[in-house]
Symmetry: C2
Subunit: 117 residues, 2 copies
C-alpha cells in the first residue's frame, strides 16, 4: 500500500514543549500513515523563535528546506545552517535550533519511532 | 556531535541495480556520518528513467523535491506525485519510481538501516 500526502494540507501545530518558542510542526509521514519505524516532521521556526535546548536518546536526521537558522551543539557552539545542507545529530547530545533571522527557518527532521528504539 | 553536509558536494552515483535506468543517488546522511538507524538518500531520475519494480523488507519515507514523477504500486497502478507531497511505502510491497516527463524527477527517500531491522 502507498500513502500520498499533500504537505500543505497537514495542520502545522504549535510545539508546546517547555522551552519552545514560535515553533510549528507538521507530521509529514507518521503513525497515522502506517509508518512504524520512521517519522518525518516539518518544522517552521518563526524569526526570534527556538526549540528547547535539550537531548533525547534518539538521533535527528535533518534537511534544511528554506532560508537559514542556527543549530547549537552540545558544547553550546552555534553553527549557521542553510538550505542545501543536511545535518546529523547523535542520540543523547544536547542541541537546539533557533532563528535569529528575518525569514522563517524551515527544515525536515526525521527520527526513529521513540517508542520502538 | 553534529555533522553538517553540503548536499551538492556529495557525489551522485549511478544506481547500478538490475532494472534501474538513468537513476542517480547521493547519500545525504548515512553510515559515514555516524547514522546507525536512518539513511536519507537523494534520488535523481532523468527523463525516461526508472528504478527497478521491486520490493524489500523495509519501508520508504519519501518527499518529492523537484518536479514530478510516477510511483507504481504493488498492483501495478500508477500515481503521479509532485513537489509538495510526501509518500509512505510499506515494507514488502512492490513499487517503482519512474519519470516519463521532460525534467529531472528528484526526491529524498529515507529508510531504516537494512542491516539493523
Amino acid at each position: 500500500m502507498i500513502k500520498i500526502n499533500n504537505n500543505e494540507e497537514i495542520f502545522a501545530a504549535e510545539v508546546k514543549m517547555d522551552g519552545a518558542k514560535d515553533v510549528k510542526m507538521r507530521m509529514l509521514i507518521g503513525p497515522d500513515d502506517g509508518s512504524e519505524k520512521i517519522f518525518m516532521r516539518h518544522f517552521i521556526i518563526a524569526p526570534g523563535g527556538n526549540t528547547p535546548y535539550h537531548q533525547h536518546n534518539y538521533e535527528h536526521v535533518v534537511k534544511v528546506e528554506s532560508n537559514r537558522g542556527i543549530i547549537v551543539d552540545e558544547n553550546g557552539n552555534e553553527h549557521e545552517i542553510e538550505r542545501g545542507q543536511s545535518i546529523f545529530v547523535k542520540p543523547n547530545k544536547k542541541h537546539q535550533f533557533k532563528n535569529p533571522f528575518v525569514e522563517d527557518f524551515e527544515f525536515i527532521c526525521i527520527i526513529p519511532n521513540p517508542d520502538k528504539l
